[in-house]
Amino acid sequence: MELNIDIVEERNKSVVRLSGEIDVYTAPQLKEKLLPLTKMTGNEVEVDMEFVSYMDSTGLGVFISALKSSNENSSKLKMINLSDRVYRVFNITGLHEIMDLERINKVER
């Protein structure tokens, strides 16, 4: 039950690729890595959640802190490639209203 966090730094942009589960065990690790990125003024933080197989309210807590921090520091936070499951948790709690979320592109194969 692990969460892998890969960060690629580009010019004024950080891409965070997550794979695994976000829960009470892994959320603190995510928070520790994600928050500093949102504190860089003007930085665009893109979190790729395609390979997140599980997320609960502990993940929401991390993204709420990150969003607050990005608002305070004039950076941007965006979550992309959300699976139906992960999107559902944002949606039920109403947080999809204030977060920049992009659902996974469901192309027929």
Partner: protein
């Protein structure tokens, strides 16, 4: 009629074991015949209950135990999560939960408090017992939503 198989597990109140319970739950819920979507919903609800026990006073992280019992019925799954920690102020907690509302300002946005709300939404029946010797959360999920009205989605509490 009320044939039940009981499965009980005890874990140390440590964050790293919540995933183990999710795996166990998958197996049990799959055996009863719940769909993939339903199983994922129950996973979140149970994780939230255990997370509450670990982080909200219930037990001190690393100390104490959490007991998880699965009641396997023909038409439903009952999951009980019980800790041996201190009780918490249920009414105070309940007043703080709910979905995010647009009227809330960004500064007021809570970083917690969505856990109990998710349990309520994702399960068919939720009962919380807040006693002197710990907190017990009893959650029920029916197969194909049998036997529940939509309005029945609420938390009842006893102290």
């Amino acid at each position: 009629m009320s044939n039940v198989d009981l499965i009980e597990m005890k874990i140390p109140a440590k964050a790293e074991y919540v995933g183990v319970i999710r795996l166990t739950l998958s197996g049990i819920a799959n055996r009863i015949g719940f769909s993939y979507e339903e199983i994922e919903d129950i996973k979140v609800a149970i994780s939230e209950a255990i997370t509450n026990s670990i982080t909200h006073g219930g037990v001190k992280e690393g100390e104490g135990e959490i007991t998880i019992s699965f009641g396997v019925y023909e038409d439903r799954l009952e999951v009980m999560v019980a800790d041996d920690g201190e009780s918490f102020q249920l009414n105070e907690v309940k007043s703080k939960i709910g979905p995010y509302k647009k009227s809330e300002s960004m500064e007021d946005l809570r970083e917690g408090g969505f856990g109990l709300f998710l349990i309520e939404v994702l399960m068919d029946k939720v009962q919380i017992n807040n006693g002197l010797d710990g907190v017990t959360v009893l959650m029920t999920k029916y197969l194909n939503g049998v036997g529940v009205d939509l309005d029945d989605d609420q938390v009842s509490s006893q102290s």
